[in-house]
Symmetry: C2
Subunit: 709 residues, 2 copies
């Protein structure tokens, strides 16, 4: 028998930790005195955290990596099903309750593709990575050619136009230069946005096809030694990836609904998927094409941003003598795959749920993406299940999730969120995302404001993977302005956070010397050569994840920090004003600021009471407080969603609709500002006033509930 | 008969122009209200300036370019003597008094050189630019192989070490990495410092030889299309240049003295010239060598600063399998050459002298360096002589100088300064340097503080070469923080400014798309392809130069601005404090600041009187005022000079002794700060207190003299 964490006798709250809240920008989040809403020092929790941390085993992480990274496992393939089964078996062996959540999603698979020089010489390029003696995995028969999922089918031969990174601004620049893309093949280099937008903008500009390549200045000799001597892209490394850009995540045919076998589905023809052929290549292919361009050179003003690392002066236009063929054949069809969710039942509040997750599907072996995160999820499950068997069990439940078909456009996690929307809205405490997390020794996090305090407090106790003190020390040492990133698009947090308003964070270890991102070189051998074979980054990520989960799942009062919505809210209002000034428009956000003032006033009262309570004791009153704290993030949900993107319902954060990966904060207002639409700015500002009024009302109820403890 | 400018009836000074001086940083120099010390609006001067500007003729500049850029003219060669004779004839034809100032300097010439791969394969590289059908000049038989003047003689075969730019900090980094350079051949890329320091630091680190190459990221395909399609370096372009780094400029054997035929000379063996063989190459040679390096890769932290534009990951060490040979044979001997100085005698104060100059020697055809400046000097002479013939003659004399052997280490101009030190100290108003000035449409200037106001005022009336308004408008439009650069090393201002304390400036037009700097491609054909054939940049530079010269040579009160030594002095004291803080040392510059305060107080009184006087009238009293204003810059001269560099006597500015090109301001203090030498800082601070006390005393006398007008 042991202590059930979250239901023991808690030490009194330390008065010195009651800090006055000051208006600091979001970016100064890490340092400073702990928030009264952060987890208070607590002997029982300390025992629990210490037990979890000390059980994490690099050799276990290594074993998981060998098992999960044994073969390619693209979503829905036999290899992926074997991963699913291995995960189910492993979680069951740990004593966890395992749910297989099956779904049928509209995915794309490659059938054939060609990229060829047609004139001045005829040459057909290989569209697969070269196999390497140093890494036998690279010869695996199930490895696919390079492809961009959801490319249109087509076979075009045309002149080429170099479009730099294919960002919105790059196509604007080309239009200003008078470059006509109609009927041409656009040639874009990776980076700067989500690749789907390269395809979307190329198609909108009238291009007949698109080739996307990895420039050696971005990954290749310009960054360091290429694989296999070093970790960077060699000339044949191909970045695969989805190019879907529809205005919702998940299965393209079942927005807002789970993609069950019998779900009502949209007509695929009615879904805005790409129409032109889009093909990714390595830089040796790009070099052979671009070296033969003879048309207009880069205007001098563009050289700094547009010239890459290939050994010649880049040009905008290929000229008439250079004709290139791009042929893509893909099949889009319903694919049956599954999420795996293993649950450790909470001792006192089993309905309440903290989720740690990472997808399981990959573009090849996926040793880095996703397995550098999935092994940490698996190890987190192992150590938390192990602790529970030894009597250390959190008050709330913790779920360990392995999502399917993330790579095709964040499918499995979104389908699970849509299938469980009501339950999650009511009971979910937070989602911790570990997508490809352990890629190096330098810790970083992107987080909802309410999770920043608990991450900071846990970081004070987790040794950094670089061997130099704690993660907290690493963060405050390495960053001139320590802070957390904002959550954008591009991974499994999006269903929880942007659709349901469940606070989410992504934890990561970065700083490895190289990348095999979405290539056939993303093997365990690559990982061990580049990230290392000591599994210290994975140990650090696992420790951070179980620490944050343990804190969120324990403690009579859940350590979600509402106060960060004051500081981060003000910082984002300031950022919006600056953005408006840059765009040359005037905006009046006085009403929003007044709303934040009222919220802050209410919060000051609540914070004072919270500070006096310390850890508190488990009780119905404490549960009411925790329930209200969970509602703080939900208050950002607006059923109407964002203009043109109703699936995105969180008014605090969304992905940047022009680039896909970056975060937009206060996105409804941001969108109106970007469109320079004064009327829309006024309308959207009113929605934010309403949000802060809901937060104020919730906070007043919170004060009442806290006083009742 | 015409108006003699500077001796006519001058309009009253415009009261509105009396601006209060405020403490602005040097970098905000350009905009704002004119200083009372700047030239006042003046109808007669306006007539003169307008006449000069309107006489400048692009076709004359073009004709000069054809004549001067007809053949290679390395210092002392027959080609260079033909340039000297052409200049003498031309100046005489203009009606100017021509002085040929001959000197005999210790110069180096190439005899032979080899760079070879020895292992893993044997290959001998060509050390001369390829000849181009598009530019027949590139086949001229007098063009030399690439060479670095004053290289040691030697023949070494060894492993290679890449030393990035061969800066002091690069060699410190290598030492920290434990890279042993002893007996190795260092491979450095151009840029980041004066090439002589690459050789000096390589030799100090024990290298047996040095190869310096032009990286395509710095000039080559990384910047734009190479020559002849574009203007950037192709793989065979070689940057020549001197590598002398002794602690004085001019002839190595006659410091402080003119290099006459019979001068007492140092023993060459006692002069610290380079000992190891140093050879410049184009990037095709560097590529062939560096591609074969197999040793230690760049540490990740160095990649950003050390990786260049060649298409492979750079390494620090070549490894034992790669052996390279460098053989250099040069001859050092006394060379007879000459400066040409043509003088337009002043109408009222013929002893007082404004000098406009540029060197005439080149490394090849020199169409850009020096001719893009020398044609402007020649055209300035033509239009000022022409105006004088038409009755518009300045009060003071103006000299037009073409210096010899600048490329070997600023030889001719320094010898002239040393030969005329007393006269120049007494009478020189200012030196305007136009070295390779007209290389593009964007105007820029580096200037002594006292010249900034006159440059600014003239810029308000000169049309910019880009066709968009005046130079003043261009400067204030293009620069976020408009300002002038500080004068560093590397050209003919150094004898005037750093040795004699004569205020100097360098004027330039930049923004051309390419560079043929010190290569055999620096031909008139290259210039017209890259800079243009309309000679608008040269027209702009000539107009700025004659405008500044006309203002300095006219006006009863010479428009040297003493007030800029308050603002610039304070800014530089602040900069020193910041630098000290960066280095982690404490410095007390309170006494210097108090000295500046006293100077400012004295100056406020003088400025008030100066403002009331307006243009003033020619008189003995005005001459006394001008004489005192000339002495302001001389007050910075300290006979003791800088520690270890006694030839550098100007305590306001010197070249950076660690890099050669950059400027150090308040250099005696800066040197003590860099050495973290607290005792030296105190001693040097006292010298600056003495300078400001001299300035204060001078200014008090100035007030008296102004009141006597």
């Amino acid at each position: 028998m042991g202590v059930t964490v979250g239901a023991g006798v808690w030490p009194p709250y330390h008065r010195g930790m009651l800090a006055s809240l000051c208006r600091v920008a979001a970016a100064t989040a890490i340092a400073g005195t702990p928030s009264p809403w952060a987890p208070a020092p607590d002997a029982a929790l300390d025992v629990y955290e210490t037990a979890l941390r000390s059980t994490i085993d690099p050799s276990s992480l290594r074993t998981f990596h060998d098992a999960l990274g044994r073969e390619p496992h693209i979503a829905g393939t036999d290899g992926d099903w074997r991963v699913i089964e291995w995960l189910e078996d492993s979680f069951r062996t740990m004593g966890l309750a395992v749910e297989r959540h099956e779904f049928w999603a509209y995915l794309a698979r490659p059938v054939d593709a060609r990229v060829e020089l047609v004139t001045p010489i005829r040459h057909s390029f290989r569209l697969r990575e070269e196999t390497l003696d140093a890494d036998p995995d690279t010869a695996h028969p199930e490895l696919e050619i390079g492809f961009n999922a959801y490319s249109g089918n087509g076979d075009v031969t045309a002149e080429v136009v170099y479009v730099n990174r294919g960002r919105r601004e790059d196509f604007i620049t080309l239009r200003e230069l008078g470059v006509d893309l109609r009927g041409k093949i656009a040639l874009a280099r990776y980076g700067g946005n989500y690749r789907g937008y390269k395809a979307k903008y190329a198609e909108e500009a009238g291009a007949a096809g698109l080739i996307i390549y990895t420039d050696p200045a971005d990954s290749g000799y310009g960054r360091g030694l290429p694989y296999p001597e070093g970790g960077w892209a060699n000339g044949t490394s191909i970045q695969r990836g989805s190019i879907k850009t529809i205005a919702y995540s998940g299965d393209p045919l079942t927005p807002f609904r789970p993609a069950t076998r019998d779900a009502e589905r949209l007509d695929p023809a009615a879904v805005a998927l790409p129409n032109i052929p889009v093909q990714p290549v390595g830089w040796s292919v790009a070099e052979a094409i671009m070296r033969r361009m003879t048309g207009r050179a880069l205007p001098p003003a563009l050289v700094k941003e547009w010239q890459g690392g290939l050994p010649f002066a880049y040009r905008v236009e290929g000229g008439a003598d250079l004709r290139v063929r791009v042929m893509v054949e893909q099949e889009r069809r319903l694919v049956h795959t599954a999420n795996v969710i293993a649950t450790l039942e909470g001792a006192r509040n089993p309905d309440e749920l903290v989720i740690i997750g990472c997808h399981h599907d990959a573009w090849g072996f996926g040793a880095g993406d996703p397995l550098a995160g999935l092994i940490a999820v698996t190890e987190a499950a192992r150590v938390m299940a192990d602790a529970a068997r030894n009597g250390l069990r959190p008050a709330r439940s913790v779920a360990f999730a392995a999502w399917g078909a993330e790579e095709h456009g964040i499918v499995g996690s979104v389908e699970w969120c849509e299938a469980n929307a009501d339950r999650l809205t009511r009971n979910a405490v937070a989602y911790i995302n570990l997508d490809a997390a352990a890629m190096g020794p330098r810790f970083g996090a992107s987080a909802a404001p309410s999770l920043k305090s608990v991450i900071t407090e846990v970081s004070r106790r987790v040794p950094a993977a670089d061997g130099r003190g704690t993660v907290f020390e690493q963060l405050t040492r390495d960053q001139a302005t320590p802070g957390y990133g904002a959550l954008g698009g591009g991974s499994d947090h999006i269903g929880f956070y942007c659709h349901l308003g469940i606070p989410a964070c992504g934890l990561s270890g970065r700083g490895g010397q190289g990348t095999a991102y979405h290539s056939n070189y993303d093997t365990v051998a690559w990982y061990r050569r580049v990230v290392g074979s000591d599994y210290e980054p994975a140990r650090m990520i696992t420790a951070m994840a179980v620490g944050v989960a343990a804190n969120l799942a324990s403690g009579p009062i859940v350590p979600l920090d509402p106060a960060r919505y004051v500081t981060d809210g003000r910082a984002q209002v300031d950022a919006l004003r600056e953005r408006a000034a840059t765009l040359g428009i005037e905006i009046d956000l006085g009403a929003v600021t007044a709303g934040i003032d009222r919220f802050e006033e209410a919060l000051t009262a609540a914070t004072a009471v919270r500070g006096r309570l310390g850890v508190g004791a488990p009780s119905a009153a404490a549960d009411r407080v925790s329930g209200l704290l969970r509602e703080i993030d939900r208050a950002w949900i607006d059923e109407g969603g964002l203009a043109g993107r109703p699936w995105f319902r969180n008014l605090f954060a969304a992905s940047d609709p022009y680039s896909g990966y970056a975060a937009w904060l206060l996105p409804a207002l941001r969108q109106a500002v970007e469109r320079r639409d004064a009327a829309a700015i006024r309308v959207q500002a009113d929605r934010y006033v309403a949000v802060f009024d809901r937060l104020t009302a919730l906070t007043d109820r919170l004060t009442v509930a806290l006083n009742a403890m």
